[in-house]
Symmetry: C2
Subunit: 299 residues, 2 copies
């Protein structure tokens, strides 16, 4: 499928995109409040992006029959965590990237110290947003969501995955290690979006388990595809430097399996993710459509 054939996001997704932008805008400190430069840079760090984690959270809520308002806090918290992780990952001591979403990274647009503080502030704000009392969610459910988010984001989740990624640079690592790296680095937060939606919507244990498994497989498929796209797409389409993984001699699915086998594995894993939603029958549509949009993306 070429770029021109990618299906336009359906109305539901477009609504969610507008909604998460509104929610983020309300959660972020105003750019003219003290310290203004930090607050402006926090907003800069949260501009654009695919909002995949928020979309997944809203779509999972729709599958469970929840109101979008019930998902605002977890969707916003996830996007704040994701935004902070990109700001810190792009730092010179980490991946050293100048370009993100087609624009200068935060440490390029501002400076390194500000980028470190922006990440710290966004991470802190994520927990602030999720700790705010919600009319439709019990305090006990909110505490559980805060624990899930902290586990997904911390040293046994996303931050741990990034640490393993840095250790693994310039060496071939076994496929199982690569999978465990990505399960933490990107998978944990994607899966967390599904788990938070289940917690916010009061899902049954079976429903929560199915959504969590969908999240695990989707996160894996997403990462395999990310590696494939890094090999095949142009820098212009990606909005970040293309072929960077290969240049850094990072282990990737294409480098370990070959390009075609990696592409086939991505398709197979997307199919497994869809199958995990069988429990929901027709109600699974919002998540299935979103999975399709992700599978047929070009960046």
């Amino acid at each position: 499928m070429t770029v021109s054939e990618i299906p336009a996001p359906n109305t539901g997704l477009a609504d969610y995109l507008q909604r998460i932008d509104r929610v983020l805008n309300a959660a972020l400190p105003a750019a003219d409040t003290d310290p203004a430069r930090l607050h402006e840079a926090m907003r800069y760090a949260c501009r654009g992006g695919k909002r995949l984690r928020a979309l997944l959270t809203y779509a999972a809520g729709a599958v469970l029959g929840a109101e979008p308002a019930q998902l605002d806090a977890p969707a916003c918290a996830l996007e704040l965590i994701h935004a902070y992780s990109l700001v810190h990952d792009d730092l010179p001591a980490m991946d050293d990237d100048d370009l993100r979403r087609g624009q200068p990274t935060v440490h390029k647009a501002y400076d390194e110290a500000t980028a470190i503080l922006v990440g710290d502030a966004l991470l802190t704000l994520a927990f602030r947003v999720l700790a705010e009392p919600q009319a439709a969610t019990s305090a006990a459910a909110q505490l559980r969501m805060l624990q899930l988010l902290a586990d997904a984001a911390g040293s046994i989740g996303m931050v741990g995955g990034q640490a393993i990624d840095i250790e693994s640079e310039q060496q071939k690592i076994p496929l199982a290690r690569l999978e465990s790296l990505h399960a933490r680095k990107t998978g944990a937060l994607i899966r967390c979006g599904l788990q938070l939606a289940a917690a916010a919507a009061g899902a049954t244990p079976q429903q929560e388990q199915a959504l969590s498994e969908f999240g695990r497989l989707l996160g894996l498929a997403y990462q395999i595809q990310d590696d494939v796209l890094d090999e095949s797409a142009t820098t212009e389409v990606l909005g970040k430097t293309q072929g960077k993984d290969r240049a850094q001699e990072k282990s990737t699915y294409p480098s370990l399996l070959g390009f075609d086998a990696a592409k086939a594995l991505a398709a197979q894993t997307f199919a497994q993710a869809r199958a995990a939603l069988a429990l929901f029958g027709e109600h699974a549509q919002p998540l299935l459509r979103l999975a399709g949009t992700i599978e047929y993306r070009d960046h």
Copy 2:
């Protein structure tokens, strides 16, 4: 008062010190769990230190008649936030310090990328610890504590103070701006320890207000004294590079007021902090003793 005249910590404080070390040890991931290097570095970042924020929390709990176990989670969360902030503040792009508590800073003992991730992981763990269900604290009170901590640590609190500090380097700033800088950078977290103790112990609004005001004044006194000590103590006693503020042409209380006036202001502010506890009568002793230990420290 010279170093040899400093009163030994009373038994209560020594007990609290042992207790917070045990609690931190239990909260931090084991150093042999994956990713082992990150987890080891997280523990390295939390070693030693005065544990001032934890001691304040336990002592405030004692003033309110609470059991120490009720204060374990907030005391631990505060020390994790404090430890993360030191790791990030010491980074080359920030204060660029090689020495902390007399030993190499995390980015010197490990590397810069690890130091960034250690800070992120400790910050995340702080919220994880405070979100863990507590037998003696209601879920609603815990959510309130999480909000207080996020506000004290984030862009309107500690991180915002650090941003203002960086903006203010190599320039004279007015005394009011210096005070607002420190109220955020160090004051917010110290005050938060008192507020969390009040929330955990179910204090009355009057008690909470008095503790919060004590925290505000103590944090201010502590910072003025810190500036004074940076001018007068030796690098060996401080455990960090002495005279660094002056070398960086930072505005400090001594540089704005003169050394003797700054010293007098510190003493006066400590006295005001003590006066804020009048409400508690004799029960204020644990906090009064701790304030004394802080006032007569040499580093």
